[in-house]
Assembly symmetry: C2
Homo-oligomer: 186 residues x 2
DNA sequence: GTCTATATTCCGATAGAC
DNA sequence: GTCTATCGGAATATAGAC
């Protein structure tokens, strides 16, 4: 892996662990074993770094989306949950939660990049739910977009809250969402 | 309102708007019209300030809890939601979400104060749901504590996500949670 | 592409006068 | 209780050598 990718991966980790405002170019440089000036060569500003991290996650979501395009809705939703499971394993929150809490303290250019990605995720989950309902594998009464918001905020929120209530709560929430979706209601 | 309370209220606002790592003593001093040294007189360290903010919210929850102790479960849950509605109106996230995303970058003393408050909120909401189910006004199949986690993460998460998807999504989520809780399932 | 060196600004915190 | 003054450190960023 080249230096640029090493920086990017580490910056991503630090954003998810500590938050965008809580790490410095020195933190990156020290861990990697280079100098801060070298980081500025690859990413002129910290904003550039944040935007690259957002694009990294956007590409990750796109990849899963394509990979599961022909699978059944349950497999798609589980693939979506698995993205969050990976973060939970390392005590990280998700990039949407991390950047949204800092949104009004960071460069507006970051918000401009984040917005379409978040909206894209919402559309994707909404489509999964619609398809699941049409095929009779998911059961819910709310509007699909609203149900998608409920599920996304469950995932985003439990990654944050389970830092205090305990890691097992992540799987508890995940399993409960799936169980409720599969259960027919009167 | 005395200076100490003015500082506290502004620090709270900044934590909910920008995050703990994104505001400085100078930001507080400049807005209030005093010097940073005066803030240190009231709150020796920034950690002290965060802890005071946590206690402020803990007291707020306790007050609502007591005020609605003899009301019906629906009124209690709506009172719980109203706490978040106030934040939404000003584009703020909740203190739990703000501090949890920064948890691994701040003084452990802050985490020590935050933990019992978060656990207390979880217990409170769990009890509201249990009472509602017992009295036949709420219907859900998950364990009460798990359902409480789902609802709390919905509230915490939508305050963050609606910064991007739009403020109306907060009420959409709030209303849908209530509707689903009131609906009998097969 | 990485380095040294440095400019500039900002931050949390403290000492001591008033 | 608030101020001036300042310390020590850390931050983002840039210039220029190698």
């Amino acid at each position: 892996m080249n230096t640029k990718d090493v920086i990017l991966k580490l910056a991503d980790q630090l954003i998810l662990e500590k938050g965008f405002n809580a790490f410095s170019f020195y933190d990156l440089a020290e861990t990697i074993g280079i100098k801060t000036a070298s980081i500025h060569y690859h990413f002129p500003t910290k904003t550039d770094l944040a935007i690259a991290v957002i694009h990294l996650h956007a590409a990750g979501f796109e990849q899963v989306k394509k990979q599961y395009a022909t699978k059944d809705p349950l497999a798609k939703l589980e693939a979506f949950f698995n993205i969050y499971s990976r973060n939970k394993a390392e005590g990280q929150v998700c990039f949407v939660g991390s950047l949204c809490t800092d949104l009004y303290s960071i460069d507006p250019a970051i918000e401009a990049e984040l917005t379409p990605v978040v909206k894209g995720i919402l559309i994707w989950v909404t489509e999964i739910l619609k398809e699941g309902k049409r095929k009779g594998v998911f059961h819910f009464s709310a509007a699909p977009r609203t149900k998608a918001l409920l599920i996304i905020t469950n995932m985003l929120g439990i990654l944050q809250v389970s830092r205090i209530t305990g890691k097992p709560d992540f799987n508890e929430v995940r399993n409960t969402i799936l169980k409720e979706l599969k259960t027919k209601k009167g």
